[in-house]
Symmetry: C2
Subunit: 337 residues, 2 copies
């Protein structure tokens, strides 16, 4: 055990280098490198064994950094999520981490809501020579996208409008909005309301499809309340809606959290029944939508497909830079259908 200089606080113990292993094993550094290289390198059995033994003794682990320095490829993908409050994001994260790990790519996590923050972060990611970015924020910034592009970092955005050369993968929000309209109309709803999210691509597409189908079926424009994306906001929006005296008998909500908040308001604060008095449709199919207290009719976003699309778009660079993933209605207990 040789003495090493004192480390700054929090420093890792200095790692053995391949040169040190080589010295101990009585071979050259190249040979050590070959032993640890993935390809079936040409190393004789006895030498290989000696190297392995020396490596074990020194606790040697190959260092990826010099390789990155030469190739410029770090094998690291940044995943940007816009707030963890929504289980939708965490489920997406779960799927993506699994897929990236299969491809032996590392995940750098970036959590941000504000744009300023993201601006700094672009610089930070460049410093580490990130190979690409998968962005699953609720609200995307065109400015940041362009900045990444100018830095030469490819980006895939989920449920986002296309900016520059950005690749996108999206749920077919518009089609689902249409189906939501069908469900409520076919279920016999006469006075329909829409609980909207803040401005985002997903939100506006869902609303567009919903409005279009309602119009096609001869209904007038539904009442619209701004709810945001959270349970509390959904609850407040429903209270506002029902307090104002309007009594809708059908509600389409921008996502499940909003829908669940609205349901609780309808039932607890107003003593009304779902689906008896008001039918409710959500979006995302987060686990809570299936909980017995809710049994929410909603749309299942195929997270597995969204995640796979993101990774393929980023890594394989297929010809078509945009993927649309269908999503399916999950009929449960909050609608008549």
């Amino acid at each position: 055990m040789s003495r090493t200089p004192p480390n700054p606080p929090g420093a890792t113990r200095p790692q053995a280098s391949s040169t040190a292993v080589a010295r101990l094993a009585g071979v050259s550094q190249s040979t050590v490198s070959r032993v640890f290289s993935a390809g079936a390198a040409a190393v004789s059995a006895p030498v290989r064994e000696r190297v392995m033994k020396a490596a074990a003794e020194l606790n040697y682990r190959p260092n990826a950094l010099p390789g990155i320095l030469q190739t410029g490829r770090s094998g690291i993908i940044a995943v940007v999520v816009g707030g963890f409050y929504n289980p939708f994001f965490t489920e997406f994260l779960r799927c993506v981490t699994g897929l990236l790990r299969e491809r032996r790519l590392e995940i750098m996590l970036v959590d941000t809501a504000s744009d300023d923050n993201l601006n700094d972060i672009v610089g930070e990611l460049s410093r580490y020579r990130i190979d690409g970015v998968i962005s699953a924020m609720a609200i995307h910034s065109a400015k940041v996208a362009r900045k990444l592009e100018s830095a030469g970092i490819p980006i895939v955005a989920v449920n986002s409008k296309r900016v520059g050369n950005m690749r996108t993968v999206s749920t077919d929000n518009r089609a689902a909005g249409g189906v939501a309209a069908d469900v409520l109309v076919d279920g016999g709803c006469k006075r329909i309301a829409y609980l909207a999210g803040r401005d985002s691509q997903a939100q506006s597409e869902r609303e567009r499809g919903f409005l279009k189908r309602l119009e096609e079926r001869g209904r007038r424009k539904p009442e619209r309340v701004l709810a945001g994306f959270s349970y509390e906001e959904g609850h407040a929006a429903a209270v506002e809606l029902l307090s104002a005296g309007s009594r809708p008998d059908g509600m389409f909500c921008v996502n499940d959290l909003v829908a669940l908040g609205a349901m609780d308001a309808i039932r607890q604060a107003f003593g009304l029944s779902v689906p008896g008095d008001i039918q409710v449709v959500g979006f995302d199919d987060i686990p809570m939508a299936g909980w017995r207290a809710y049994e929410l009719t909603t749309f299942h976003q195929d997270m597995e497909a969204l995640a796979r699309g993101s990774v393929e778009l980023l890594v394989d660079e297929p010809a078509n830079p945009r993927i649309t993933v269908p999503c399916r209605l999950v009929p449960r207990g909050t609608t008549r259908l």
Copy 2:
């Protein structure tokens, strides 16, 4: 614009080096480095300006890798979470990402349930010269901890038993278990049940404190049902318990997800009332515990404190390698108190 060799698919556009900037600005590479170094380096105003202009033209971003190569410190912390299903983990993740970002540390995300997987991952993290690991798995592996230690990578574990030189930060699970017993006993419960999680430090500490206090207060051992950690498992466990004919009037659940599942079983499947027929206490205080349909009495884990403790323990390396964070009862509507 000089020609560069073709890139492999998915490669980032090659980044300009400080040497290239230096050439364009007509200065030395050292000078460019000084302009971009944080400390107020001694560079004259006109030179600085010329360098900045050249850098902007080439879209230059400093490369962190050579520095890492020399110092051995990557500025990257790995955060290991054991499954995203529990909002507890995601909330922890949110807090930790914020704190690490403040300290200008990057986050490498590792999601794993299985140990085998983790074993590979230790090697992977060494390759990137990770500065440290924050582990928030439900179930920790002593083997992995030792392997990390032998690799010289410091580790902080949350709600885990101490292994080797590992640093730990934990909620005071045992004390909280005692308070849970008080709440149920003081609330008048006569037949108390415990819905247990799978083997983990948090689980066993909560149970230990709970049992000890019940004994101190002259109650006999509560009925114990194994539930796991999820909503579905909690639901199933409660169904099992109530179907078996035993009719507890108080329940302490290893976490909120289990408690919410149990509540839905009690109410929907058996038509019983909470807290009328059965009082329920959970653990974690995830957002859903406050939802109007549940209003679950539970213990708030101070995630902010747990996260801060983790980061400080890892980065500042204080004398005491273990931190215990108190947690507080949040009385809501599922108990009489």
